[in-house]
Symmetry: none
Subunit: 238 residues, 2 copies
């Protein structure tokens, strides 16, 4: 599976330089000109790493980073921040920006790629230890096991990835095409209805003990992970 990197940078020259070198290093690259566009793209298809210019028109890089950290789905998303001068870099390090590394412009392509690789190496295992929870569902990413209550649920690879994606974004409705992109991958060539089949297998596995169904069907749209009966009042924000 390829690693997706999203570059958020308003200067076209710098953007192209970054994209060229990262693609040459084997990454899949997406680009955004400002914070708004970045948010939209992350929404659509979350990358594995973000390269973020500190100075952006509109939403600044720091603000974007902080905002991402607040969302569970992107709280652990690795971020490499681009800064113009060394002093800035050191000052940003002091602030709590939430970035994983800082690169000073001008940078050498080799250094940039090296830092991206280092951040990915560091970030991956950190994510691996996590446990995703929803209702009486528990998914341990490290051991790749899923429990409902105290019963273990055997899941195939596809089912596991689908459930993981839903657990990372509970309550949120995904349409079939989104799920295909984000679970099966962009290069997968499968029918939309395949999602239904996998949802069905996932449901059968999850509810094998007669528990209530946690997968909500939204007719005409797609699926979401949700509590069945009582309308879940949207929890108050922190």
């Amino acid at each position: 599976m390829t690693v997706r990197v999203l570059i958020v940078e308003d200067e076209p020259a710098v953007r192209r330089l970054l994209a060229y070198n990262l693609e040459a290093a084997g990454f899949e690259v997406a680009e955004a000109r400002d914070g708004e566009e970045a948010l939209r793209q992350i929404e659509e298809l979350p990358p594995d790493l973000l390269i973020l210019d500190w100075m952006l028109p509109g939403l600044s890089g720091i603000e974007l980073c902080r905002r991402l950290r607040r969302r569970p789905a992107t709280a652990a998303l690795p971020v490499v921040m681009l800064t113009a001068r060394v002093e800035e870099r050191d000052r940003l390090r002091g602030l709590d920006t939430g970035a994983d590394d800082y690169v000073t412009k001008p940078f050498s392509p080799a250094e940039l790629v090296a830092r991206v690789r280092a951040v990915l190496r560091r970030a991956r295992p950190a994510m691996a230890g996590e446990v995703l929870t929803f209702a009486d569902l528990r998914m341990d990413l490290a051991s790749r096991r899923v429990f409902r209550g105290n019963r273990e649920i055997p899941l195939s690879r596809t089912e596991f990835r689908l459930l993981r994606h839903l657990l990372e974004n509970p309550h949120r409705v995904f349409e079939r095409a989104q799920l295909l992109d984000r679970v099966w991958g962009l290069d997968a060539d499968v029918e939309l209805r395949t999602v239904d089949a996998t949802i069905r297998r996932l449901r059968r596995a999850l509810n094998a003990g007669g528990e209530p169904d946690l997968v909500r069907t939204v007719r005409g749209t797609g699926y979401a992970l949700d509590l069945p009966e009582p309308a879940p009042e949207p929890l108050s924000a922190p």
Copy 2:
């Protein structure tokens, strides 16, 4: 909006230490001495997170946690379990207690607060996603749900899109042709009166509980989302 944390702990010293540090970190804190009292408080005003001592007089922490998990209203309530020693913590992790994280006594305040924050990040529904509101109507775009007061309103795809458009432009009157273009789409080939039928279905769904009608009919023109007129004002003074 503040985050409420309920501490369930029988030792006053530990309770006060926890309360002090959590309040310093900006949380709103409630306290309970045992499981019974905790249940009462959760009933009264559900907290956003529970800190739970493993050893409690009466109802044990584990039992309380399991019981909460069984009730839909509290099934997703984040729980941080306090244990006395490291061995206990590891043993509890093995059992399926349903807790989201474990902290070993003695703990550092910083670690405790960090773990609470982490659990909240994970447990929170993703996306402070857009929510459209009008009067007692609430539409959550991410989860694709609509509430009137605290009653959920089931809506079909078309009804949902129509209501969304009205909610995005409250008070504004749209003629049928406009609604067809903007809700059904430019390429849709349907009768103007179809709008009436959908408005009717939307009204029936929204007012199923006997609430006042929020959809205003503008004769000869179209429809708008509006508060109903409270009373016709007499023009002449008594």
